[in-house]
């Protein structure tokens, strides 16, 4: 009697092995052959750029620092000014948000809600510039909107190459390698938001650089290339390269990374920069530079912080695109929060231009008006998208308005000429902390728009998702019990697991901003419902607790401040959100009334490849585009799908799979009589660990 199972007899093993071998061979035969059929990356063929740009600063600099918000319309009456055309005459997509008014609207109507289901992939292009972060090169994050200008598609890559493509075929025209550093000098990843384009109103025949494309780098250089040839414009700064870091003169703990291309307004380049969040108490204070588009000479500088606060704090920079109303001579800045992001004991005085929408005079850089959306920001509620400019009809009166979306899920609507409310914006009392954070002061009130309603209900503590709690064995309930929550704007705390923030820095609306259909006066915006936890640690506790960080999560030191921090998404051990779905939505609003027309979950969440039901939606990064054909195009979701929705009903009409989440706005353009829609699928590790290098373009089949 055997007391243990003996090995299988040899004959049986052989038989089984033979069958397994045959079965595997059969399976491999059944599997399609072209498994690795992606386009091969293209190599840069341009010469390296001179990175040693001259150090001399422009003597024409005019400081335009303002300590207080002002309202100054220069004595001009609103009715005297020409407004943004209700419906643009030309199809333009030559900047990050398509148009300078950031409407992301195309008057093209070849693709309609009725035929969008017939869209087919016309071409795709793989840049080869991607990294998943597993090697020496940090992960790539690619949020570039393809720019269509000069009968060319221009894109910048996270490896800081600029590529020009044929809009009809995707064939490469030229590429330029900046040879820029591939080190994570300010961001934890390699990041790029594309390029910008300028052309002379009166071009000089035979002269180069009458059309210029610009791209910045993480090591603070701005490159200017001839749009036709891809060669450096010798007349721009130092032989085509501007060293932006020459103006990094206060707390220069990191370079002024130019990840967002400059906003081109007439013959001016409006240049902001990005830094390193959460790392330092004192950091480079925010500045905007106006540059001559042809020469790179600095025309004026805007500073968001007072001289006194610049010494103690920093940032309040503009790291995303801006919008502008050329007719009225106004530039609109989405200004971020001061440093450090989650403790404000070093900046207790008022900083009215921080976390604001600020309107500047394009020619002088002087403040015309400013509205602060978060007083004494302790949540990293950077204003992170260009305000969308629009003319809307409210109560029978046409109003030159702008909409500023925020991370909190608010839409602030004001008169873009004066900054005055379109619908009342109320100051309401907010929580005043639990006394655990030394040196902190709290703003007694924060602004709340009365219309439109918030994109997500942040007025109440989000409910625990029963499924996630059950799977986590009560983990979510325990977490909720250990979090401090006194309502929206609950400040960070050292107690328990910290403060519950809904939403925090990763939620609400991100840099894709609000799209606007001027014909129906409908605003379209995607929003994320994300619960995060913020816990402050005193220095000693921080050093013990610090276990590292990811992209926009984990531990961050806030060096110099008495507190480091930990910021986490409130998930269970399996990565399931502890709060109830939906996790992301697409919302359409009637801007004549401020009411929601429709809302629907957008995309599908995905973990380890497994899709969750679409009714749960997905967190989103990136934004929509809308067309006169009544179609909304958007990527943005975790499942890396590209979708089209009906502007009228919100119904999903079309989708296709991309290589990675498309975390920018799509571009819509017309070339040789055919309408195209283009997406960049580059991914963002905030959303998901999936990266891509794909530019993919769709159109209707040709007859």
């Amino acid at each position: 009697m055997p007391t243990s199972l003996s090995p299988l007899p040899l004959a049986t093993l052989k038989l089984t092995a033979q069958r397994l071998g045959a079965a595997t061979a059969l399976a491999l035969l059944l599997a399609p052959a072209p498994l690795l059929a992606q386009d091969q990356p293209t190599e840069a063929n341009q010469s390296s750029a001179n990175s040693n740009a001259k150090e001399s600063a422009d003597s024409q600099n005019s400081q335009a620092s303002e300590d207080v918000a002002t309202t100054d319309t220069g004595g001009r009456k609103d009715s005297d000014r020409p407004s943004i055309p209700l419906v643009p005459e030309n199809a333009t997509w030559d900047s990050f948000h398509g148009q300078l008014n950031a409407q992301k609207y195309s008057p093209l109507d070849q693709i309609t809600a009725d035929n969008v289901g017939d869209l087919e992939k016309v071409w795709e292009f793989h840049t080869g510039d991607l990294s998943d972060g597993s090697g020496d090169i940090p992960a790539s994050v690619w949020s570039a909107t393809p720019v269509f200008a000069n009968d060319t598609i221009y894109i910048g890559t996270p490896f800081y190459r600029l590529i020009a493509l044929d809009p009809g075929t995707g064939k490469e025209k030229w590429s330029f390698d900046t040879q820029s550093s591939r080190k994570a000098l300010t961001q934890p990843v390699l990041k790029n938001r594309g390029v910008s384009y300028w052309e002379a109103e009166n071009p000089v025949a035979g002269e180069p650089c009458q059309k210029i494309v610009y791209m910045g780098t993480m090591d603070a250089q701005l490159f200017a290339l001839d749009a036709d040839t891809g060669k450096l414009c010798k007349g721009f700064a130092d032989n085509g390269v501007l060293n932006v870091n020459q103006w990094n003169d206060t707390h220069a703990v990191w370079p002024l990374s130019v990840l967002q291309p400059p906003t081109v307004v007439g013959d001016h380049l409006m240049l902001g920069w990005a830094g390193m969040d959460w790392a330092y108490e004192q950091a480079p204070p925010g500045t905007i530079f106006s540059l001559n588009a042809q020469t790179g000479e600095r025309e004026w500088t805007f500073q968001a912080l007072s001289d006194e606060m610049r010494k103690k704090s920093g940032t309040a920079n503009v790291w995303t695109h801006m919008s502008a109303d050329r007719e009225n001579g106004l530039l609109y800045l989405p200004v971020s929060s001061p440093s450090p992001n989650y403790w404000g004991g070093n900046r207790t005085e008022k900083a009215p231009l921080a976390t604001s929408t600020t309107a500047l005079d394009i020619e002088t850089g002087k403040v015309v008006w400013s509205r602060q959306w978060v007083h004494h920001d302790l949540w990293d509620y950077d204003i992170n998208s260009a305000p969308t400019l629009m003319d809307i009809t409210v109560d029978g009166k046409q109003i030159p308005a702008l909409v500023q979306a925020t991370k909190q899920g608010f839409l602030f609507v004001v008169n873009r000429l004066t900054g005055e409310d379109v619908w009342p914006i109320e100051e309401r009392p907010v929580p005043q902390g639990d006394g655990s954070v030394k040196g902190e002061v709290y703003a007694p009130t924060q602004p709340f728009p009365t219309k439109p309603a918030p994109l997500l209900d942040q007025s109440k503590k989000p409910k625990i998702w029963g499924l996630a709690d059950a799977v986590g064995g009560g983990q979510c309930s325990r977490l909720w019990d250990d979090l401090t929550y006194e309502g929206m704007y609950t400040p960070p705390t050292t107690k328990g697991e910290g403060a519950l923030s809904y939403p925090d820095s990763a939620g609400g609306v991100q840099w894709g901003g609000v799209a606007f259909d001027p014909q129906s006066q409908t605003a379209i915006v995607n929003t994320s419902h994300i619960v995060q936890t913020i816990k402050l640690y005193d220095r000693e506790a921080y050093d013990k607790a610090n276990s590292g960080s990811g992209n926009e999560s984990g531990f961050a030191p806030q060096k110099g401040a008495p507190y480091g921090l930990r910021l986490e998404v409130a998930n269970n051990w399996l990565g399931m959100p502890c709060w109830e779905p939906p996790f992301g939505e697409l919302v359409a609003l009637d801007m004549t009334t401020g009411d929601v027309k429709w809302r629907r979950p957008v995309g599908a969440s995905q973990q380890y490849g497994f899709y969750m039901p679409e009714k749960w939606g997905s967190p989103t990064i990136g934004g929509p585009a809308v067309t006169a054909g009544g179609v909304i195009f958007i990527g943005a979701s975790m499942d890396a799908k590209l979708r089209a929705y009906s502007l009228e009903t919100g119904d999903e009409l079309w989708s296709d799979q991309a290589q990675a989440p498309s975390v920018s706005n799509p571009a819509v353009y017309e070339y040789k009589g055919r309408e195209y829609v283009a997406f960049v699928a580059g991914g963002n590790t905030i959303l998901k660990d999936q990266v891509g290098d794909q530019v993919v373009v769709y159109a209707l089949p040709e007859d």
Partner: protein, 150 residues
Amino acid sequence: MFFGLMQYQRNAEAAAKCIKSLSSGDNNPMSQSRSFRAGIIVLLVGSLVGLAVSLYAYFAPLTGVNGTLGALAVILSTIALVVMTLVLAPLSCRSGRVVLRVLILLVLVGTGFAGLLLHQWWLTAAMVVGLIGLLLDMASPAASTTPAHS
């Protein structure tokens, strides 16, 4: 304690019979009935198609799940299905077949559900085919503890 030892002894004897049946001529597939063979073949086809779909999902670009842990998991589970099916085919002892069938059923259902979550509808369809094969195999009178005569 005593009953526990008795049960252990019975299990061990059954296992020994299973091993013996595998080493004897009883494992000749030709000795099985046609319906029995049909069930195994259908199960094997379902498993192989599932493996092919899983390989495609993992390795091909733009499947939406290429390179993911989920797609890798279904590759492994479908390989396990193939192996178990090939072991099941010649196995004649009842206890071994029951254990294998339960395992196969669990893997079929799990992989089919994973196929739904991975949006790999053909994988789920293949698992349904495999399930039909398993049911055919179970319904076959030839799938009894007594091996068919050669």
